[in-house]
Each structure stands twice: as structure tokens, then as C-alpha cells.
Amino acid sequence: MKAYRSLLVVIAALAALPLAVPLLVGAGLFAGPNTFYNLMIFILIITLAAQGWNIAGGYGGQFSFGHAAFFGTGAYVQAVLQTRYGVNAWVALPLAALLGGLVGAAIGTLAFRARLRGSYFALVTLAFAEVFRILANATPITGGAAGTLVPLKIGLGQMQFASSTTFFYLALTFVAAVLLLNRALERSRFGAWLVAVRENEDAARALGVDTLKVKLKAITLSAAITAVAGALYTQKFLYIDANIAYGAWISVEALLAPIVGGIGTVLGPFIGAVALIGLGEAAKTAIHAVFGSAVPGVDLVVYGVLLIVVIAFAPRGLLGLFGKFDLFARFGIFGKRGGR
């Protein structure tokens, strides 16, 4: 269990975070507890989407530029099942994951059977996400351009909570589960084969690795996890439209977070999401304080700068940077990277 100890420490620290909220608010960092929780919930949802991307992209080297296809499918399945078919939110969530996974398997089958790699694979996934976005904008079942509104009905049964602390713990549960799943994956045969596929497909095949099967499994799992992030987004904001669910923004967040945090690492997506969204919000607040009004898109500028800085100075991500300090390495705080 030694391999999981460092992760359990991180999870426990996150679970204890609400204890620090009065301090953070008292120090004037957040306007109120809800500001903090909303930010944290958003970070956790993005983390989950990025954790999904990281399985196919980080460990498997299959760079998808269209994880919005899976995020959006999860979000729409969660919304449409509730509003049109009266399905309970807790029942809808696993179905959202399942359908997201199926979309992943379908896109994966088409792309990998055609032997698409690298930028070709990225472009095809981007195209698929765009097709989904346009279709969702035009079909009646998704509410078309007007989007879908999930009626506000607070209650545990509806997965809607009066307190944002509860939703924080719900999102944290999913992120924690995927963290542990990720570590198990790193230590499994499938994980070893997946990294081998990323490093060198021909060499992997010579060693008996069925690369097509491994890539298909990876993209399916990857898509299912990102779809759960979409479903949680629906539950949190209770409204989605095509540009939110299938928008390029989420494809970018899902791949930027692991790249900034540490690609192909268990904690990379979370670290990256905290850095990206945290700095983005900080920039928004700072600009607002200086100019007295909001400057739209300033967080995207921060994303761009952060990405350039990371690629230039820490190609292995922020975790790779921490790894240089003995303290972290000695205590194995961030664990060992699954390759590269």
C-alpha cells in the first residue's frame, strides 16, 4: 500500500480544506465561503475532465484535441435524461459515463483503425467535437440553441445541495477515486502496455502488445471519466448549451491542465487545474481592482503565458519542477512519474 500512501495524504489534505475556509475568507482572499467553494468545485470538475484526458493523452500518448465530445455527451445525457425522461440524477450519472465511454470507443475505433497518430489524431478528435457541437445546437432533444435547463429541486435524491460544501465533497470523491484508479493503472499490466504504446508502438508490438486494443481501452476509459466531469458540470450549474458542453474551451482545459501540471502523472491534472484556474481567477480579480472593471478574456491570456513558461522552463510540467527539489522526491509526495 506504500504506493498509495502519498495519494491518501493529498486526498486527506483536500478533504480537510473546508477547515481552512474561515481563515482564507478572514485573510480577505475570498469574498465569502461560497466564492471559495465555487472556485474549488470548478477546479475539481476541470481536474476530473483532465484526469480523463491524461489517461489517453498522458499515459498513452494519444493527444486528443476534442475531449469536449465526451464532456458534452456526459453533460447532455445527465441533463436530457432528467428533463425529458424523468430519470433520477444518480441513475443518470453512470449512464452519462457509459454513453461518454461509448462515444470514446466509437471515435477511437474510427481513428485508430485508420492508424491515425499524432497531429492527425488530434485533428480528427477536434473535428468530431465540432460536429457534436453543431448537432447539439440544431437538434430539438438537446434544446437546440436555447440549451437545457435542469429544474432547481434541492435534495439529496436530485443530487442538488443547499450547501456548496456537500457538492465540493461529491466532486472530491470522484477526483479521489480517479487518483487511486490512476495509481492502480500505473502499477498494472494495462498501464505498462499503455506507456509502451506511447513510447514506441513497433517495439510494443514486437513484445506482444496488441496496440489497437490497448489504445481503444484507454480512449474508452478516458472518455468515460471526462463524461462524468460533464455530468457533474450539469448538476452544479443546472444549465448547459452546445457551446458550453461541446465547446473547444473544455477540450483546451482538459489537455492544458495535465500539460501544465505534469503529463502522464497521477497528480498532474489536479496541480495544473489549480495553477491555471487559480491564476486565471487571481488575474481577473487583480485587473478588476486596478481598472475598476472586468477585462473579459484576461484568464485566457494567463493560460497562454503559463503554457509558454511551462513549455520553456519545465517541459515535464510543474510536478517535474517540484521533482527537482529533494524534499518532494524524498518523501515521494508526488509519487513517481509513469514514464518519460
Binding site: W193, V195, A206, L207, V209, G339
Partner: protein
Amino acid sequence: MLDVRSVTKRFGGLVAVSDVSLTVPEGSITGLIGPNGAGKTTLFTLISGFQVPTAGEVLFRGEDITGRAPERLAVMGIARTFQIVQPFAGLSVAENIAVGAYLRHAGRAEAMARAEAVAAMVGLADLDRPASSLTVAGRKRLELARALATEPQLLLLDEVLAGLNPSEIRDIIPVIRAIRDAGVTILMIEHVMQAVMSLCEHVHVLANGRLIAAGTPAEVVGNPAVVEAYLGHGAAGRLQKGAANG
């Protein structure tokens, strides 16, 4: 164990391998030599399933395996190494070998144990360091170890000695012999004649895509056709004249 029957491979107008037949008896170390560009590596890619022959067939233990995918051949017990070594650069030495070991051992503990055993057999130490930090000789051993970790019955070695210095070659020859003695049949492409002479029981010579000679190493190096393939037309005659005069 391995039967190659009239295998031909064309790339457009170029015939890389032309009507080649050879057999590799079980338990042997069989050599495949020939000048650069003779088609040796192409023949390997045909046997190991990375390319499909234009004509002819490949049999393994009597079963037709022509054009079967490399990953399925690995499951059947055919492993290969690459002339240009292909380590998983981001992984440690042990993890590299474990990728091969996972083929027969699904559990992590067993696969890692197997990887360690194989590493010891080929003489690799310091297994936790990244594969990218290995020397050329180390990478060659890693290539060998990874293939061995799949527990093959037939091992195809593509110039595992190329790029090594004489003392490194002396070190690795007993390793290859030990692999054979452990029950693995070997077909090896090799340029280092010292190794071919001391290891192989039987040698096939390929030139311009055709098999021009076969026999024991001693027979083959004395064959005028082989000498001419390496040194040019008429070389065998001039050499003999030179020897007679000198």
C-alpha cells in the same frame, strides 16, 4: 522450427527479397549474413510480421504464419530485436523488460521478478535507472532482455553486436550461447564474423535479395560466390592468385 518457403518481397519495381527459402532447426543458432542492402532486415520484417510477403510462405512449427501480426507472433513464441535499438526511453530498465514479461505474467510482482531474472541472465545491472542513460552496449543488452522476457521459443536477433567494441562482443557471445542452451532457437543477422564463426552451426548468405550460399560458417567463408558478393566480381580469383604467388 521455422520454415521460410520461396518468400519474395517487392517494393514497387525493387525486389528486396527474391524467392528465399531457408529452415531453422529447433535448438540451433542459425546465422543470416550478407553485404549491406542484401535484404536481411527485410526478410526479418517478413518473418516477424511487420510486413507481408508479396509471395511465399512462412511456417512456424508447421503452422502457416505468413502475414500474421507481430503481437500475435509474440504470443505464439516468436520474439525479435531491432537493428536500431528501440528502448522505451522514458521508462526504467526494469520497466522496459517488464513490458515484455507482462505477456506471460499478468501480475506486477511476477512480471517484475521475471524482468529481474532476465536482466541477470543478460548481465544488466542497476535496473532502476532510466533506459535512456544506458550505453550502446547496455541498450543492446536491454533489447535482448526485453525480447527474452516474452519467453520466446524462437528469437530473431537483428545485429545485436553491431556498434560494440571487441571486448563488449567477447562479453555478449556467451550470453547468446546461454540463451540457446536454455532452449531458445535463434536466427541471427550478424556482420561480426568472429561471432558468426563461433556461434552459428549453420549460415545462410543473402546478396541482392537472393540466397547465394548456405552451410557451416567455414564452408560459407570459403565459397567464391560469397567472397565476390562482399568484395566484388573476380575478387575470389585474384585472392587465390595472390595467395598462390605470396
